[in-house]
Assembly symmetry: C2
Homo-oligomer: 623 residues x 2
């Protein structure tokens, strides 16, 4: 029997109450049918999350900056191995709580439309091709290629979802077909076609008036009709509840539940499906549609081998969790995620005998390593700790907080920073944001602007410290830590080196230090445009792509999409549109990403490939 | 000229406005007299605090647990070296902000009367002799023994101050002379006599109806009269404001300021002395008293060499800050601060090839290393990191939060802890409190019970995890992290080993691991009684010593004041009241503290001495 046939046979034995109970994220056991409880809600954005100790890879935006498809696949395979290993143990012990399952609410493949969006760092950046191709590798790595599925991947948030966070539960986006297909659905379409993801998560917002988790247009006409999706659809957490609470399209939870189910939502993360029975009894939902939804869900559970004795993934041992091989992969991913944007006066790599002042709120902060939707590592290496592993000659001062100015009771941190800076040969400034300042919930930085940030400027206290340090006239390596673009025009002009470090994972400090001291050459590239100022940005609520991203922005960015240096001297010679000879004329072996663009008519990424190329070597890449 | 004569000569040139301006913590410059601005408010409870990177030694209660006078002196000397080194640089650069000076609001020598008091971990415990003798070494180490003073020490909080935090600004303690002199003033008297501290800080509370910072009885009759104190008196921060705001003894700030000054307060931390001119103009304060106060303050500034060219401490170089020698001293202090309370079945030292499950919210938390009133370290070693430095065979799970129970969105951490515990040979549980749960401000743990804790029980989530882990039947090393007694009766009964780890400083995890793996023998002793339950405690607001501390408690403690094991087998043979032969019959070299008690008639610590004694060796200690 196929998985679908097995599911049909099982669902046929269920009462209507039993069927409806299975459409909720915390599906209870049906003991008479041998069905254990199962919680569909699980996370692994950049490592198994919220489920104890696990390998914490760089945040998604950092993994995008690697422009490395193969590495993304390797990381996703490691993640799914850890997820499965833990699940196998959970199953033995009878643990069926949230975050302990194998149906993952990852990846987030929304387009990072506006740099102020707090959740942008969960994405693969602003380009649909980069996003779609990397998501494809991520989904393949998660799902495996066996008879059964290793874990189930979910593409989210479908669709046209990118803030503002504060109004996400009731926001409507009116969008034309060009932007919809070219930008917002592009990566979904590519990944559905190439990776066969198990699930799609409907977004909180509405598109052209229809809430995404209950939209006939989005779920039936487009997703299943045009994009050929064959998996199951789940709502974002509480998205069905939102239909009456915030969208005000329905009046009751039962109406919302009926609207969602009737328009193609199979599984509810949240609570609105507690009212499914009421909706069913009122005749608002046909049993055939319920059978279809529950069958899709059980088809996936059969495909995941939950009821099988011969699932190859049941044998993945617990020892793979947080293992040394994954730590090595994590370090490599982190190294490739770091983007060198400027390097003058031979400032980098740093001399190992230099007296180094390491200054800034991000320098010794574990929080910036982990991003959000993260696991817990058994080992963290902060940026400072990484630098200290190379040099005994390090003076550290925090210098300022991320954004809080000292009150009358609090220390003046920048005084001490000035002192150590004066005593140093070179200043490594570790500034920027942390994931409390750009995220999903309320943030500290811009309190009334929930989750998002109001501005792409560095916070005032950091700017002031930067200005004071700059006046000393010492060489400066500026390490900007953030999950998004910040306005770095001054740094580009003033500093000897500028590095963009997206939240780089638990070993991120080691990776940064490996680059700072020349142990490896940087190879990351920007997956987002770095704009010069807030004035460059259209209204945050405007979803038109006009004047957004490298494709349509008409101004002058500080750093461009795709920008990123190595320590070597790489020359590309294109012999035709699809063939390029890469020559390393420099002194460093390095990873290098070749980007292939097309003009339609605007410049648009078509493909990319990352290679390792030794000093003096030439290689040919064919797309 | 003596420092006092120099001060008198300078004060004689000041206008009344200038004099009054100098009695505030942020004394402005008097440029016409060549007097720079100076901020009197600085902290160094266990390392220079709130002034950038510095060596972060164990919290005060942990330093007390070493029962080591010499080490306390060494640590205080290191602290004052770092403080001076930074001050020398601040002076050059013209920095005169809060926390940048050399008049330190440390040590806190209040008696840790009740284990619920949130600030108890800032003290040296429950015994006046231990407190007075260690404070004497600390003050001597801070102040130095040169022509000038290295930094100025302040004994606080004078007096009878130990919670509740929530009512501290208006609390009155009625106390009889026996408890007052035997317990609450004992350490102040000893330290004033033996270490000549520069200053005394008046407490927020009132004693027998008089607010301490404005009490003729406490400041004039007792402090200067009976105890012979000759330095200056400052108020706690805002304590003078409290006189009208909370004690309601006066109606206005001007009245409060006058009352404080007239009763012996020379310097105001806080804002009430902004009203000194009003009080003076109304004739409430005599100029002679103002001259006396300002002269005391300038005498101290002269004694600190602020106006001299030949101060030996001006030469202390910046390089001593956070230097390697201080790190080594810090590690040694931390090792000696850890108290082994039980060790059966040869569980400790741990076998280095054992598979170790490290579990608990304190295991990988930097916060528990630093206590409060702390500096910022350039290197932290968490308990987990210390253990990992000895073994590759470590499985880590947080297991639970300190006290928060997971909501519907949050992971069930204890499931993962159970899994790794099952896979281990031995479980090292790192549980207890962190400084957010017992402190000065509002705490997380017991929200409406500001700063203090409601109970000495382990928080419920930790108890539940403990019970689950215990059922596995694996050997357990229970590391209790807290700045105070917790009720560990179950742990004493169940676990193979129990260790009390007071907030152990930046390198505390290394120190703990050095002990766990037998690199050094433990030698700490408890500076407080570990009671069995909340039922053992008198009313928190009752300041009578009846049934409090090892001296007067009539019940059965779980662990007693002074308790603490080594890995060796030490025998004490007392030949008379003052002479004891110490023999090390065991296999480990170890530090060992000899405690001398007297019976007056209750058991009372009279003196103590810590020695290093090799395996097989005998030494004689004479008191």
């Amino acid at each position: 029997m196929t998985f679908k046939e097995q599911a049909q046979a099982l669902v046929a034995q269920m009462t209507i109450e039993e069927k409806l109970s299975q459409m909720k994220h915390d599906a209870p056991a049906i003991e008479r049918l041998g069905i254990p409880a199962y919680n569909w809600w699980n996370e692994c954005l950049h490592g198994l999350a919220r489920n104890g100790t696990a390998t914490v890879f760089p945040q998604a935006i950092g993994m995008a900056a690697t422009f490395n498809k193969r590495r993304m696949f390797e990381v996703a395979s490691a993640i799914s191995d850890e997820t499965r290993a833990k699940y196998n143990e959970h199953k033995k012990q009878g643990f069926t709580e949230i975050y302990q399952g194998i149906t993952m609410c990852s990846p987030n493949i929304n387009i990072f439309r506006d740099p102020r969006w707090g959740r942008g760092h969960e994405t693969y950046g602003e380009d649909p091709t980069l996003t779609g191709m990397l998501a494809t590798e991520f989904v393949k790595g998660l799902q495996g290629e066996g008879k059964y599925r290793k874990v189930a991947a979910t593409l989210k948030h479908y669709a046209v979802h990118s803030g503002p966070e504060g109004v996400r539960h009731g926001f409507n986006v009116d969008i034309d077909d060009k932007d919809l297909y070219e930008t917002y659905l592009n990566a979904f379409a590519y990944c559905i076609k190439n990776a066969n993801p198990a699930a799609i998560m409907g977004a909180y917002n509405a598109v052209n008036g229809e809430p995404c988790s209950a939209s006939n247009t989005m779920l039936n006409e487009i997703l299943r009709g045009k994009l050929g999706f064959e998996g199951f659809v789940e709502s974002d957490a509480g998205a069905v509840d939102d239909i009456n609470e915030h969208h005000k399209i329905t009046k009751t939870y039962a109406e919302s539940a009926a609207l969602a189910v009737n328009n193609g939502c199979d599984l509810c993360l949240g609570w609105a499906f507690d009212y499914l029975m009421e909706a069913y009894e009122k005749g608002w939902i046909a049993e055939e549609r319920i059978d279809e939804a529950v069958t899709r869900l059980f088809e996936e559970r059969f495909r995941l081998g939950m009821f099988a004795n011969d699932c190859e993934y049941d044998k993945i041992p617990y020892d793979v969790v947080d293992c040394e091989a994954h730590a090595a992969l994590n370090l490599q991913m982190a190294r490739e995620s770091i983007v060198l944007l400027k390097n003058e006066n031979n400032i980098l790599p740093l001399r190992r005998d230099a007296k180094i002042a390491v200054i800034g709120p991000a320098a010794d902060d574990r929080m910036i390593l982990i991003g959000n939707y993260n696991g817990r590592a058994s080992k963290y290496v902060t940026l400072l700790e990484g630098i200290q592993s190379y040099s005994k000659n390090v003076l550290f001062e925090q210098g300022c907080d991320y954004w809080k100015e000292p009150n009358v009771w609090q220390e003046r941190k920048n005084n001490e920073a000035l002192i150590v800076a004066q005593r140093s040969d070179v200043i490594v400034m570790c500034m920027g944001l942390n994931p409390n300042m750009e995220g999903e919930g309320d943030d500290d930085y811009s309190d009334s602007f929930s989750g998002d940030k109001r501005s792409i400027e560095l916070p005032k206290v950091q700017k002031e410290l930067y200005q004071k340090l700059k006046k000393l006239g010492k060489p400066i390596v500026f390490v900007n830590v953030s999950g998004s673009c910040l306005a770095l025009g001054e740094q580009k002009q003033d500093c000897d080196a500028v590095i963009q470090c997206f939240y780089p994972g638990a070993l991120g400090g080691q990776a940064l230090a490996d680059i700072l001291f020349g142990e490896c050459s940087p190879s990351g590239r920007l997956p987002v445009t770095f704009y010069a100022s807030d004035d460059d940005l259209p209204d945050f609520e405007d979803y038109s792509m006009k004047n957004r991203t490298y494709k349509f922005f008409t101004g002058m960015p500080v750093f461009s999409f795709g920008e990123g240096l190595t320590y070597s001297d790489i020359v590309e010679e294109w012999t035709d549109d699809n063939t390029v000879k890469i020559t390393n004329n420099g002194d460093y072996d390095t990873m290098y990403s070749v980007l292939q663009y097309e003009y339609i008519p605007h410049k648009s990424l078509k493909n990319f490939e990352k290679i390792f190329i030794k000093a003096g070597e030439s290689k040919t890449v064919r797309f």
